[in-house]
Amino acid sequence: MRPINIDTIRMVEEKARRIRENIISMLGQAGSGHTGGSLSAADIVACLYFWEMNLDPQQPHWPDRDRFVLSKGHAAPVLYAALAEKGFFPEEWLQTLRKLGSPLQGHPDMRKLAGVEASTGSLGQGISWAVGMALAARLDKKSYRVYALLGDGELEEGMVWEATMAAAHYKLDNLVLIIDYNGLQIDGPISEVMSPEPIGEKFAAFGCHVVEIDGHNIAEIMAALNAARQTKGCPTAIVARTTKGKGCSFMENRVEWHGVAPKPDEVERALAELRS
């Protein structure tokens, strides 16, 4: 159990704000990439990297570290921003995002960047990696925990449910699934394109302990992660209600910001909002 108090909450909020700034600036520099879904996940990822997980940036391959798998790999900028903020690599590298030869690939590549635990991007696959990692922890009698962040649109991939079935079957209580429930996918609202709802009920039916929270409320994220630690005999699925594009008013809840990077004037506007 980790302490939840005004100091830890403020600290994580500030980290999330800095992560959002870096998401905007690196995407602005890259000129392409996934803005909306990176911003929606910033509070969850900040909570994991700066409060929840055991990590040592000096030893990225430390065997006992907790593992984070970005199953929604297109949100790579939120992961890169968190890793840079944590000290896995120099912040300047963020400006190389999506450029030829950069360790910061358009989707995370574990072979190019230390700190990235899984090469993801093709949706539905990261969760299966996380199941395998949680099984490995059990085999090796290690106490590390495994976290997988999924998109809500990603839940349309059948493989997600194969993996969830396996996680429950093998009683992986060292595994936490977090769903970034921002309600939008490329072609429109998830409810119109192909509804995976009701999401919480589905994960419960598959055998998970389900916690539904506001994915931008740091205290709620923390409480959910602590609840997952106390859950024995099954994985936990945290269904986190979020806003796509969160933190930049002109991007919030706008589907067109799924796979588009901000132009220079939009970068200025977004950064001004995040700094106010």
Binding site: P63, R67, V69, D109, M110, R111, E117, A118, S119, G121, S122, G124, Q125, G126, I127, S128, W129, A130, V131, G132, M133, A134, L135, A136, A137, L139, D140, G158, M159, E162, A163, M165, A166, H169, Y170
Partner: protein, 313 residues
Amino acid sequence: MEKQATRDAYGKALAELGRTYDNVVVLDADLSKSTKTADFAKAFPERFFNAGIAEQNMMGMAAGLAACGKVVFASSFAIFATGRAFEQVRNSIAYPHLNVKICATHAGLTVGEDGGSHQAVEDISLMRSLPNMTVVVPADGVSVKKMLHNLYKMEGPAYMRLGRPAVPVLYREEDTIEIGKGNLLRDGNDAAIIACGIMVAKALQAAEKLAAEGILVAVADMHTIKPLDQELVIKLARQTGALLTVEEHSIIGGLGSAVCETVSEHYPVPVLRMGIADAFGQSGTPDDLLEHYGLTVDDIVRNIHKLLEKRPL
């Protein structure tokens, strides 16, 4: 002649490997009795995970286990391991260069009665096209055992193609099987047969028949399709001037294609590709199917004659 199915050899060798190395983990997708991973499961239940009928998730779990230091052997039928889960193999195993060895059984026509839906005739082609992927097709039980050891020792992903029916044992325990190094089982200067898998034994029988007619053909067991032993292919092209490739696989994308790619760039000679001519399989006994699709000993003999007519003198 002693016979053993390559899948039976795989099951036994895998259990043995598990005894020697405790980081060996085995996955299956509800076919462990057929793929013979059940032998390992029985010996090491804590290191065996059944994924159920969910090959995509099996490949993803394999990736996660491998990312945590395990050497994972993932088994299913070839059709599902390479077809159903192709993109998982590509993105979660080959792309991140993980230590996952996909050992697929029931490859090719000799699945038999289950029919075309279950007969993978394109698996070698699919796996060979993936960067980082090593592709091996052992010819008998002894080479399976040796190859399994090699796969454990090598770093990175691999595909091993195994069959359902019993096939003649060709190798002795003291013989060497090395990844990327074909074995010349019989020498000859008139033509060369380059074969893999169950067709190697048939190639040797054909060579025997041809010898009785005074035609001396070399026979190579090209158990590694990728990386291909180019040196041996070029040597045989130079030595004989005519190559016959024989595989229980589509003539598109498999051993025949790999050999053609090599000789056309390095030492062009006439090549005939024996295999399944761009068609799906169907139900039947393995032997009836091999006959129907032209993959018998006599077909090899006939094709050698055809090839020799084509060869420039």
